[in-house]
Amino acid sequence: MTGARARELLFGSWRGRISLSVLGLFIFIAIFGGALAPDDPYASSLETLEPPSSEHWLGTTEQGSDVLSQLLVGARVSIVVGFAAAIISAVIGAAVGLASGYFGGWTDRILDGIDNWFLVIPTLPLMIVLSALLSPSLGVLILVIGITSWAGTGRIVRSHVLTLRERPFVERAQALGASHWHILKTHIFPNALPLIFANTVLIIAIAILSESALAFLGLGDPTNISWGTMLQNAFSSGAPSAEAWWYVIPPGLCITLLVLSVAMIGYQFEEYVNPRLLEQHEA
């Protein structure tokens, strides 16, 4: 991952540089958002749905809270859920893909069947059902998004491992009597890692969008403000009919920019992992 090509792809293009800066900014806000917020994001006041002013740069919510403060605090949930869910998804996807591709036979048939099934199941309805059955919290959100989004990674890792297994260095290790665990750990996994990583970055983007959609449907973590819950509050309190654009536009724009920057970084890594893609794009 420290290859010069990866660095060139990320820093060499304006899309890569902008994406990294935007992501860096959002991570900074996610860590220090609470301290940067000019007001208590939860404090209500009588100044409800006020347009932007020198006192409230992005106006106020239906409760009279400061929109900017909520926006700054809300970054944390998006980032935390996005990254944590993507890690869970990467671990399950990598484990299933590695075992399925390496061991073959019945292991492959069963795991691939499960993978297939998760690919087919409609993701958002499954997430809705799971989060409605469990009561909403940050952990439940991460878990639900994580276990519904690994199938693609599993599939890609499996087909990559199938080709790795036939490579001479793996056959050599097998002939020398190395254990499965040793071969997986030292030969297969390190070679599949860039692929897993590129896929995981793209899943972060999907996870952030999923969290916002679930929050909008009322299945978000009720104790934490996120951009999705802000949009849910805005919509259910009638902000669109009050033409409260200052309340509606910023959270959605933040989600879009964050997802866009993560997806861009993901595509750059995909090109690094799969040079054929780059040739295609340059052709």
Binding site: P125, I128, T256, Q280
Partner: protein, 322 residues
């Protein structure tokens, strides 16, 4: 003719359906005792709970419960909604046409627009037009569809009130003809379908663009050009039809999945489809409805996949020869 291939596909679809039924059955029993979900008043007596368990067949062994469940599902007995006390299947039957209308029209518009923009970008690759189209579509790709929907409401239903902000018909109006009613439905369809289009457009554009870029490098395009055919005709008569195939296939395969992804849009516009039915069920913890809609969403995906496979079989001679 390789009918074995087709039989295999149908078999795989049937197997997935069985898995969905098993999963759907156990999911709603594994997480918490279903009677706890059924009993809405916490002060119910043990006798009442036992009676409820008997009513829903929960006192029988798990395997015979599952057999009952599968039998009931295939005869359309999906239970009773806890919220409306109506049969779940009746509610679902009423919602399906509305979801089909929204998803169908949205998919159609997104495919046409995505194809058109994709061709424009691919033929003008590397220019400002390409960059602009790419940036616009990447933005809509990353934007939450319900957020675009809220902005559409704010702009086109509130600030400039030209379209209704929700529901499928104007309530309480007696229509003089079916035509007037259809026009009213169409009026209500505009904003949700626009949001739906934005949900799909970015992806469809990217698929069409890269497919078109690839087709334009193929030999037959060069040959057609060499024959002296004008460039515009090479593109429209020869390159576009070939480049359309992947887009149309993916739009067909995704049709079922898109129905499940439209939940937020239906909830936002109070569009009376399966998505809004699920959304209303979330708040009331109406699990029979959630279980029913989840089953229909899964079935839609499996069915759409199977139809796409059959289309492949009918259209692509290579599959038949294999």
């Amino acid at each position: 003719m390789n009918t074995r291939w087709l039989i295999g596909k149908v078999g795989a679809a049937a197997l997935t359906l069985v898995f969905v039924l098993i999963f759907n059955f156990f999911l709603f029993r594994a997480i918490g005792d279903p009677t706890e979900q059924l009993v809405r008043l916490p002060q119910s007596t043990p006798e009442e709970i036992a009676e409820l368990r008997a009513e829903y067949g929960l006192d029988k062994p798990l395997l015979s419960q599952f057999a009952d469940y599968v039998g009931d599902t295939f005869t359309g007995e999906l239970g009773i909604s806890q919220r409306t006390r109506e049969p779940v299947w009746d509610e679902i039957k009423r919602a399906i046409p509305w979801t089909l209308l929204l998803v169908g029209v949205g998919t159609l518009i997104a495919t046409i627009l995505g194809a058109w923009m994709g061709v424009k970008a691919a033929t003008k690759r590397g220019t400002r037009t390409d960059d602009g189209l790419l940036s616009f579509n990447l933005f809509t790709y990353a934007a939450p569809e319900y957020w675009i929907g809220i902005i559409l409401i704010l702009v086109f239903a509130v600030a400039i009130p030209i379209f209704p902000a929700g529901q499928q018909v104007t309530p309480g109006v007696e229509f003089s003809s079916w035509f007037a009613e259809a026009a009213d439905v169409l009026d209500h369809l505009v904003l949700p379908v626009t949001a739906m289009t934005f949900l799909l457009l970015g992806q469809y554009f990217l698929i069409m663009r890269s497919s078109m870029v690839e087709v334009l490098t193929e030999d037959f395009v060069t040959v057609k050009r060499a024959t002296g055919l004008p460039w515009n005709r090479v593109v429209s008569k020869h390159a576009v039809p070939n480049a359309l195939l992947p887009l149309v296939t993916i739009a067909a395969i995704q049709f079922g999945a898109v129905a499940g992804g439209a939940v937020t849009i239906e909830a936002l516009f109070s569009w009376p489809g399966l998505g809004e039915l699920s959304y209303d069920a979330i708040g009331d913890k109406d699990f029979p409805i959630l279980q029913g809609t989840f089953l229909v969403f899964s079935f839609a995906v499996i069915f759409a996949n199977l139809i796409a496979d059959c289309l492949y079989f009918a259209l692509d001679p290579r599959v038949q020869a294999k």
